[in-house]
Structure formats: structure tokens, C-alpha cells
């Protein structure tokens, strides 16, 4: 029996979430290719340089917020219902949160597209970070609020499903997938409160003319209080897949359930008190608090290092079960022609590279060299742009048949697709990193200036541009192939043939019986997370507030 047969209502909501996610991915990916060609001056015929920023805003918001979070909602709904073996309690409530998220996302997207379509009277060319005092149309902020409220409701839906399960199963360990969902959502509630305050109390009333001015540094700080944990909100569903599904895809079992729990708890504790590492070069924040954010950020490496070990060990176990041997020879026995496996494994590999460039970003003083240069998008295209995006696509190949009851179509296309993404991202990302070292800025339509010459540290600037353009085209091609497979499966497949995949997940080598009970004490970890946040943010935030909530103030500057 496939998931769709066991949980028809939940399968429908998973499907809808993934379809919205992948549609956002398609539009955002098209925008990405336009940017890659535009800023490298390979082709500037799509949009003017002034409209480039509408495209860039769309790329950031559609991919970083809507694609990732709708995908998360699909995967988490699947994970909770499957691991607790019970449906979400109320289809009506589930539709309500999906509705909030969808209407919010649609409102924000239409407002952004208003920058490109003259007949839409709104615009919001404020990029994904929407720093005040640049002001978007109030519809943009309203859309974001609706979207975030929808995610809070979704989290509540998963929590109450768990509470009902707990009522029937007192004393049992929280199943691993549900544990990961709950811990991730706790992190999300804590951190998204920052952006909610920023938008609801400051930007929205300010854009409506209810308050005259806002403090640009305070609103920026609230954004980044949310802006780093959101990175983990993209990444946690990928980790959730790497821990719980990837070992099975490799033919093995998860190495250690206890360490998986430890890793998620560490993310809950450390994801938020690090936001100042996005503001290392900001004025108005004492150096000591930047230092605290730096040390927290470095310790945040630990859960990712632990993940690297567990995931590789699980895969190796799978390869050895399949007859692999030797120190590295087992690698050959892995199912590299299975798109779900290949995509997740390549995503993990690129994440390792992205992790190392992230260490440079985190290094407070060396950050001066690369802050706001192309290095930074080079970094996060490996993390959110590959670790998350490629994992979500890859798991789509595995999950879509189970939520539709239809066999995957165009399997040969699916088999090459992760490799196209991998090659495209290798070209684009390495060149972006090197361009950043040369000082070429990010977020600009034309990084070519009469007064400025950029010196490549490794390689020449024109070669970097070419790699970025070719990489961008390959990534878009990979994206189109992915959408072709998914939509062909969804629209064209029949439900007659039995599925080739099943959702049974093998038990870990070291199971929950080996993991200390305290790990499941969610109240304790939430309390510690809050204490760490007060330590990191309490004093600097009170200093910003001391001279008045809205001072030093800036009136809105519509763009």
C-alpha cells in the first residue's frame, strides 16, 4: 500500500505543498538564469538593469521563502503522519494553513511581479531582505504576514497530531521523524517571532502611513534575528531526509538515532543567537556581541560535522550490505543511477563544500574581505541552492509516486538530472566564490564600473563570468528536466502498475532505546535556547531601543 492509499487526505495536502513549491522553483529558477546572464553581460535582453532588481527580489523570495517552506510543509506533513501512523486531525484546519500560506505567497509574488508588469499598480523591489527605509507596497508585507501565520498554524497542526499520538502512547519515544519536525518547528516559532515583530509592528504600519519613521538598524537586526535560523529552516528538511530516507536509498540503515536527536537539539539551541554574523560590518552593534555571535556560529558547525559522519557512515553501511568492500571501493556499489539517491548524495557533497566557505563567512575579521561580495551567493547556492534544493528535487522522484500512486515517468531523464545540477552548480559556484575574492559585489545588475578594476585572485574575471553564465544555463536546464519528470508523472501516469518504491524505513543500527530520555524533553531545550538568545541579543537590542522605538528614524523611501 502506498502512502496515498493509507492517508488519502494527507497525501493531497503533501501533493499541493510540493506542487506550489516546485512551481515557485520553476519561476525563481528562470529568474536566476536571467540574472546569471544579465550580470555577467552575456545577454541583457530579458530585462532592463533597473528591472533586474524586481527579478532578483522574485528570485530570492520565491526560492528562499516559498519554494523551501512549501517543500518543508509537504515533507513534514508526510513525515509526521507516517511516523505517527495517523492522519492530521482536521482536514479543514490543514486546508486553512495551506490557504493562509498560499494566499500570502501569491499576494507577495504578484506585488513583486508588479515591478515587471506595468499594469500591476504595486511593486516591491526591496529584495528578499527588504531593508528599511526602502519601502515596498503594503501588500508585500501583508502577504509575508499571512504566509508566516500559515506556517505557525502548520506547526500547530503537527504538534497536535503528536499530542494526540502521545495520549494513545504514553511513555513511548517520539518517533525520529516527528522529533525532527517538532524540534525544527520550535526553532521556527522562536526565530520567526523576530520577523513578525519587524513586519507587524514596524514595516507594515510604516508603509501604511500609521507611523512616520522606523529605525533602520533595529529593523535590520530583527530581520537577521530571523534571517539565520531561516537558513536552518531550509536545511532541516534536507537533514530530515538525509537521516531518515537516504540510508534506505543507499541500501542500509541509519547509523545512530541518538546522534540524530542530538544534532537537531543543537540546531534548536544555536540557530538563533548567531544573527549578528550577518551584521559583522554594521555600525551600531558592540564588537563583543559580534564576538559572541561568532563563537556560537563556530559551535553551530558541530551538528553539521556530526551529520556528515552519520550520513556517510549510514551510506557506507548500505554500500557494504550491497557487497561493497575496500577502504573507498564501497563507493562503487552505491546506486548512482537511482535519481533519489544520487541527488541526495551529490547535495550532501556540495553541502560540505558550502560548509567550508561558510566557515570563512563566520570568521569575523576575514569576513571583511568577502562581505556582500559574490562569494556570499556562491556560498548559499551550495547550501540552500543545492543541499536543500537538490535534496527536495531528488526526494520528489521518490515521494511523488507514493503521494500520487503513480509510477515515476521519464526515469532516464530523472537519472541524469541530478548530475546536470551538480555540474552546473560546480561551474557557477566556484566562479562566484572567486569573483567575491576579487571584490565583485553581489546584488547588482552590472558589476562593471568605469572607476573600478577587479583583480582576480585565482583566474580572470572574464573566465569567471563565462562559468557563471554556463552554470546558470545548466542549472535552468536541470530544473526544467526535473519539472518535466514531475509533471509527466503527476498528469500522465496511471495508477494501474504497482510502484517501484515503498515508504518503509528500516530501523536504525543504534535505535532510540540507546538515546537518553532527556533528549525528548522539548521544554528543557526550548528554555535553554531562549536563555542563549537573551544572552546574545538582550543588551544590544535594549541599547537600540533606549533612544526610542523609532529613533534614529527614517521615513519610507518607496522603490
Amino acid at each position: 500500500m502506498a502512502y496515498v492509499d493509507d492517508f488519502p487526505t494527507d497525501a493531497r495536502i503533501v501533493r499541493w505543498n510540493l506542487l506550489v513549491a516546485f512551481t515557485a522553483l520553476g519561476i525563481g529558477g528562470l529568474f536566476g538564469m536571467i540574472q546569471a546572464l544579465h550580470r555577467t553581460d552575456v545577454f541583457r535582453g530579458f530585462v532592463s538593469s533597473a528591472d533586474y532588481y524586481s527579478v532578483l527580489t522574485g528570485h530570492g523570495v520565491l526560492l528562499a521563502l516559498f519554494f523551501t517552506i512549501f517543500a518543508l510543509c509537504g515533507l513534514f506533513t508526510w513525515g509526521v503522519t507516517k511516523s505517527l501512523d495517523r492522519p492530521l486531525p482536521s482536514a479543514r484546519f490543514t486546508m486553512a494553513w495551506f490557504g493562509f500560506m498560499f494566499v500570502g505567497a501569491l499576494t507577495a509574488t504578484v506585488t513583486i511581479l508588479g515591478g515587471l508588469v506595468p499594469s500591476i499598480p504595486f511593486n516591491a523591489d526591496v529584495l528578499y531582505t527588504f531593508y528599511a527605509p526602502m519601502q515596498a507596497h503594503p501588500a508585500f508585507y501583508t502577504g509575508l504576514v499571512l504566509f508566516i501565520v500559515g506556517t505557525w498554524m502548520a506547526g500547530f497542526d503537527w504538534f497536535r497530531t503528536y499530542w494526540r499520538w502521545r495520549g494513545d502512547n504514553p511513555g513511548e519515544r517520539i518517533p525520529l521523524q516527528t522529533f525532527m519536525v517538532l524540534v525544527t518547528m520550535l526553532m521556527w516559532y522562536i526565530s520567526s517571532a523576530g520577523v513578525a515583530v519587524e513586519v507587524l509592528f514596524f514595516l507594515l504600519p510604516w508603509s501604511l502611513g500609521i507611523i512616520e519613521s522606523v529605525d533602520p538598524l533595529l529593523t535590520r537586526t530583527l530581520f537577521w534575528y530571523f534571517g539565520h535560523p531561516v537558513v536552518y529552516f531550509w536545511l532541516m528538511p534536507a537533514y530530515f531526509i538525509w537521516y531518515t530516507v537516504l540510508p534506505k536509498l543507499a541500501g542500509g540503515r541509519l547509523f545512530s538515532d541518538p546522534l540524530a536527536r542530538v544534532v537537531f537539539v543543537l540546531f534548536l539551541l544555536l540557530s538563533t543567537p548567531v544573527g549578528f554574523h550577518h551584521q559583522y560590518t554594521d555600525p551600531g552593534i558592540p564588537e563583543g556581541f559580534k564576538f559572541i555571535a561568532m563563537t556560537n556560529t563556530m559551535f553551530l558547525l558541530l551538528p553539521s560535522f556530526l551529520t556528515a559522519f552519520t550520513v556517510v557512515a549510514s551510506i557506507e553501511h548500505g554500500a557494504r550490505q550491497r557487497g561493497g568492500s575496500g577502504r573507498l571501493g564501497w563507493l562503487r556499489k552505491l546506486p548512482w543511477d537511482e535519481p533519489a539517491f544520487a541527488g541526495c548524495a551529490l547535495a550532501g557533497l556540495m553541502f560540505a563544500a558550502g560548509g567550508f566557505s561558510g566557515i570563512i563567512n563566520a570568521g569575523m575579521n576575514i569576513n571583511y574581505l568577502i562581505h556582500n561580495t559574490l562569494w556570499v551567493p556562491g556560498h548559499f547556492h551550495l547550501t540552500v541552492g543545492t543541499a536543500s534544493a537538490l535534496t527536495f528535487m531528488a526526494i520528489g522522484y521518490w515521494l511523488f509516486p507514493q503521494i500520487t500512486g503513480k509510477r515515476l515517468r521519464l526515469r532516464s531523464v530523472a537519472t541524469v538530472q541530478p548530475y546536470i545540477w551538480f555540474v552546473g552548480m560546480t561551474l557557477m559556484s566556484n566562479a562566484m566564490h572567486r569573483a567575491g575574492l576579487a571584490g565583485i559585489p553581489r546584488r547588482t545588475a552590472e558589476p562593471q564600473y568605469d572607476a573600478v578594476t577587479f583583480q582576480g585572485v585565482v583566474g580572470g574575471v572574464s573566465e569567471m563570468r563565462l562559468q557563471i553564465a554556463i552554470g546558470g544555463i545548466l542549472l535552468f536546464l536541470g530544473l526544467m528536466l526535473f519539472l518535466l519528470v514531475i509533471f509527466a508523472t503527476w498528469l500522465g501516469g496511471s495508477r494501474t502498475a504497482p510502484l517501484r518504491v515503498n515508504g518503509t524505513l528500516p530501523t536504525p543500527l543504534s535505535g532510540p532505546e540507546h538515546s537518553p530520555k532527556i533528549l525528548d524533553n522539548l521544554k528543557l531545550w526550548t528554555a535553554i535556547a531562549l536563555v542563549l538568545i537573551v544572552l546574545a541579543y538582550g543588551l544590544p537590542l535594549s541599547a537600540m531601543l533606549a533612544d526610542g522605538l523609532f529613533a534614529p528614524g527614517s521615513p519610507p523611501i518607496p522603490v
Partner: protein, 168 residues
């Protein structure tokens, strides 16, 4: 909780790396003295910069080899920097005070580690040494509006003797 021996080794190595990385940053601050932009520049009213030291921005000499440069970033230029280059002598210690008159901007002297945000209401203070004569490009690296990509300037470090000859 059972932890595999290799995993213990791996975790220890990871922790060692983390502590090592924190040590390098600490050394950077204490040894070579790389300080971070912080709240030392204070705040300013972005709406009335004319009444502050940013009313007439530019270079002033404050000591034998010490200079201050006040820079206002606004859509879409640096004052000074864009219409005329910022000029300082070689072998000098220069403290920049940078703020914004409108939206958030960036101030990056390409190819150096002078790289700060210009936030309205705040003053970014950063001190650097210029040892050799050179020409640098200044780039606004934070999106600031439709013509953001045109916002750039120049910084010229002139030989010490030429600078005093100019008498500026």
C-alpha cells in the same frame, strides 16, 4: 548512549577545529589588531546631516600622519568619492566616518578589507593604514534602488610629497 569510537574521534577533531577557528579570530583581534566596526561612531539624524560634521564631508588632517574622512552615501553617489576621488597621502592612518542620507548602502574599497555598511542614522567608523600610493575603486555593495549598479567612486592614495605639495 553508545557512541562509536570513530565517531568520538571525529567529534573531538571537529571540536578542535572549532576551537582553533575561534582562536584564529581572537588572534586577529589581539595580534594584528583587526577591529570590527562597532557602535563607536554613534548615531546621527539622517534627515538633517547638514547640521552635523557630514554637512561638508571630505578629508581633514588631524595629526602628523593622521586623517579623517567623512563620507555621505546617498542614492546613487558617494560624497566625496563619486564626482571627485577621495585623496589621502601614502603612509597615513585614515579614519573613515560613513553614513547614509537615505537608504542602506555599502562602502567597499575593492581589493582591500575596507568593507562596511552605511546605515541611515548610524555612523560607521573604520580606521585603516595606507602605506603605498595606489588607486582603488569604491563600490556600493548593498542594493539601494534602481540605479544601484551606477553607484561607485574612487580613492586615490598619492605619494606623500605630492600630497603636501597640493597643500590640501
Amino acid at each position: 548512549m553508545e557512541i562509536h569510537r570513530y565517531e568520538k574521534l571525529w567529534t573531538a577533531a571537529a571540536l578542535l577545529l572549532i576551537v582553533g577557528l575561534i582562536a584564529t579570530v581572537t588572534y586577529g583581534a589581539l595580534g594584528p589588531g583587526v577591529t570590527m566596526v562597532d557602535d563607536s561612531g554613534g548615531t546621527v539624524d539622517a534627515g538633517s546631516l547638514g547640521e552635523t560634521e557630514f554637512g561638508d564631508p571630505g578629508v581633514t588632517q588631524t595629526g602628523e600622519n593622521q586623517y579623517e574622512v567623512h563620507v555621505v552615501a546617498r542614492q546613487f553617489l558617494f560624497q566625496p568619492g563619486t564626482s571627485s576621488p577621495i585623496r589621502v597621502p601614502a603612509n597615513s592612518e585614515v579614519t573613515f566616518y560613513i553614513t547614509s542620507a537615505d537608504v542602506v548602502h555599502g562602502f567597499e574599497v575593492a581589493g582591500t578589507n575596507v568593507n562596511v555598511m552605511a546605515v541611515p542614522g548610524q555612523v560607521s567608523e573604520v580606521t585603516v593604514r595606507f602605506d603605498e600610493p595606489a588607486q582603488y575603486g569604491i563600490v556600493c555593495h548593498e542594493y539601494c534602488g534602481a540605479a544601484h549598479h551606477t553607484m561607485a567612486g574612487q580613492l586615490v592614495v598619492v605619494p606623500e610629497d605630492e600630497y603636501s605639495a597640493e597643500g590640501s
